[in-house]
C-alpha cells in the first residue's frame, strides 16, 4: 500500500484552495491503492477538519508553540520528522510562497528529489511523471524521481476540485516536540497588507488592465467587473510603474504567474514578459482597439474595440445573465 502525504496550508482557519486541489487528487488515489494522509501545522479548526477528513485516511495536526507562525526552519523540521515517522512514497504541497520556501529544505533533510511548480502529475506511470513549466512557460519539462520519498509542489489552479464524500479519516493531534533552538528565525510581526483580498495567484477570474486604461481612476470599471465574477484585478508592469496599481497585482515575468479559469486582458498589448505570467490561463478574453496587438495571438476570444465601451457593456450583460 503506497502512502501519500499532503501538506495542508491554511488561510485563516480554512485550507487554502491549492491544498483542496491536492486533497481532491488524493481522494481519487485512495481508490487506486494509495493510503492518503494529510498534515497541518498548528491545531486544526473544526471548519478545516470538515473539509479535509472526508478526503484522507488520516489528518495529523502538529501542535507546537514554535509552529504558531510560519518559519522555514520550523515547518521544514516538523514536516521532515513526520515524514521519517510514516515513510510516505510522495509528499505533496501547494507551490505557494510558503510551500516553495520551505519544501526545498525538507528535500535536503530527507535527501529527496523535489519537483517544484508542477502543473500535471501522471500517477499511473512508473516512475510517476511530473510536468512543470520552464523558461517562463515557453516549454514544459517532464521529470521523474530516481528514488522515493520525493516531493512535489503544485501550481495553484492546475488541478480540478472534484469534492466527493469519502469515508472520513481519523484526526490525530501530535506534539512536534521541537525546542526553541531548532528555529533561529523569529517572526517579529505579520501585517495584513491586503484585507482579505484574494491574491492574483489564487483567483479564479482575473481582469487585468494595461496602459490602455489611461489612468488609475478608470480601474473602477474593472473592479466592478471582477467583483461581479468573484475575481480580482490584475496589472501590467506599465501600470505598476506608473503607480496606478500595486506591485502585488502585477502579472508577468517580474510579477506573478497565474493560471485562472478566466483571464480578461483589457487594454494591454500582450508583451512577451506579460504573456509569460498568464498564458496557462484556461480561457483568455482580450479587449484591445488594435487588432494587431500581440495579446490576440494568445487569446481564445478577442474583441477589437474601445474598452471604455466594451467593458461597461459586458458588465451590464453579466448582471442581466447572472440576475445580479
Amino acid at each position: 500500500m503506497e502512502r501519500l502525504l499532503i501538506f495542508v496550508e491554511t488561510k485563516g482557519d480554512r485550507p487554502r484552495k491549492v491544498s483542496m486541489e491536492l486533497l481532491s487528487e488524493g481522494q481519487k488515489l485512495r481508490t487506486q491503492g494509495y493510503a492518503v494522509e494529510a498534515l497541518v501545522m498548528g491545531k486544526a479548526s473544526e471548519a478545516l477538519k470538515q473539509e479535509v477528513l472526508p478526503c484522507v485516511d488520516r489528518l495529523v495536526s502538529l501542535t507546537d508553540a514554535v509552529l504558531q507562525s510560519y518559519t522555514a526552519e520550523g515547518y521544514a523540521l516538523a514536516l521532515a520528522n513526520h515524514v521519517r515517522s510514516i515513510n510516505p512514497k510522495l509528499i505533496l504541497a501547494g507551490a505557494t510562497q510558503i510551500g516553495r520556501d520551505f519544501l526545498p529544505r525538507v528535500a535536503v533533510m530527507l535527501g529527496a528529489g523535489i519537483a517544484s511548480d508542477a502543473t500535471e502529475i501522471r500517477w499511473k506511470e512508473d516512475p510517476v511523471k511530473i510536468i512543470r513549466p520552464v523558461h517562463g512557460g515557453r516549454a514544459l519539462s517532464q521529470v521523474s524521481f530516481l528514488n522515493y520519498p520525493a516531493i512535489i509542489t503544485t501550481r495553484p489552479n492546475s488541478f480540478p476540485l472534484e469534492a466527493q464524500a469519502g469515508t472520513p479519516g481519523e484526526y490525530v493531534e501530535k506534539d512536534a516536540a521541537m525546542s526553541v533552538e531548532d528555529v533561529k528565525a523569529k517572526v517579529v510581526k505579520v501585517e495584513e497588507v491586503t484585507k482579505g483580498k484574494v491574491d492574483v495567484t489564487e483567483a479564479d477570474v482575473i481582469v487585468t488592465g494595461g496602459r490602455g486604461m489611461k489612468g488609475p481612476e478608470n480601474f473602477v470599471m474593472l473592479e466592478e467587473l471582477a467583483a461581479l465574477l468573484g475575481g480580482v484585478v490584475g496589472a501590467t508592469r506599465s501600470v505598476v510603474d506608473a503607480k496606478w496599481r500595486d506591485q502585488q497585482d502585477q502579472v508577468g515575468k517580474s510579477g506573478k504567474t497565474v493560471s485562472p479559469k478566466l483571464y480578461i486582458a483589457v487594454g494591454l498589448s500582450g508583451a512577451i514578459h506579460h504573456i509569460m505570467g498568464m498564458d496557462t490561463s484556461k480561457v483568455i478574453v482580450a479587449i484591445n482597439k488594435d487588432e494587431k496587438a500581440n495579446i490576440f495571438n494568445y487569446a481564445d476570444y478577442g474583441i477589437v474595440g474601445d474598452l471604455f465601451e466594451v467593458v461597461p457593456a459586458m458588465t451590464q450583460d453579466i448582471k442581466k445573465r447572472l440576475g445580479k
Binding site: A72, R105, G137, A139, A185, E192, V198, S254, V283, V310
Partner: protein, 260 residues
Amino acid sequence: MNIVVLAKQVPDPEAFVEIRGDGTGLEIEPKFATNLFDEFALEEALRIREKHGGKVKVVTLGGGKATEVLRTGIAMGADEALLLDDPAFFDGDGYATALALSRAIKKDPFDIVLCGKQATDDDRGEIGPMVAQFLNLPHVGGITKLEIADGKATAESPVEGNKAVVEVPLPAVFTTAKGLNEARVPLITGVMKAMKMQIPKATPSELGLSQEELGKAGSKVRIERYLPPKKRAGVRLITGDAAEAAAEAVRILVDETRVI
C-alpha cells in the same frame, strides 16, 4: 561583513526557446544575461558593504560565457569572484547544484549569503532554501527589505498577501524578490577593471565533492524530456459593435465555456 552572492547566467528573457525535435533538449538562442533576481542580490550586497564595510564575493556555477556574470558583478563593484566551470558540475538538479554551491560558500568565512528567489530558466526557486539547509542556517525567502544590525538581520517578505517581518541571527541566507532594489549600471572604469581580472576557479576535489555527488550523478530528479506548451487554437474574434460583441462574449463565457 563577508557577503557571498550566488549569480546564475540565464538566457536573455527575449531569447528564442524551441524544443529540439526529439524532445531531449532545448534549442535556445545564444543571448545571455545575469538572472534578474541575482542582480538585486548583488545590488543589496554592495549596499550592505557600503554601510557596514567588508567584502562581496560573487559565485557562479556554469560554463561557456558564464564568466560574463562574474565580470558584470566585479564591474558593479564586487571584490572577488569564484567560478565553478568543471563540466562535472553541470546539468545537476536543485539538490546537486545547491550542494556544490554550499561547499563553494564554505571555502571562506561568510556572514550573509544572497541569491535570487528563482532562476528564470529552470524556474525552480530551490537553490536558496537548499543552500541554507546544507549550511544549517536560517533563511528568509523573497525579501523586499533587509536591515543589518549588530550580528542580526531583519527582513521583510510578502507571504500570501501579508507582509512578514522576520529577524534572524547571522550568518544567514536570503533570497531576493522584485521591489528590493534597482540594480546599478556598472561604471565604465568598473567594466574595464572586470575585463582585465583573472577569475579564480574551484574544482570538485577542492570542494571535497566526489563524482557521485555532482551533476546528473548527484541529482535526485531526472529530466526525461521537454514538451511544447499547450498550444492555443487561434483566437476567435467576436465581431459587432461594442454592445453586440460584449453580449456575444458573455454568452460564450456563460453558455459555451461555462467559466462564469
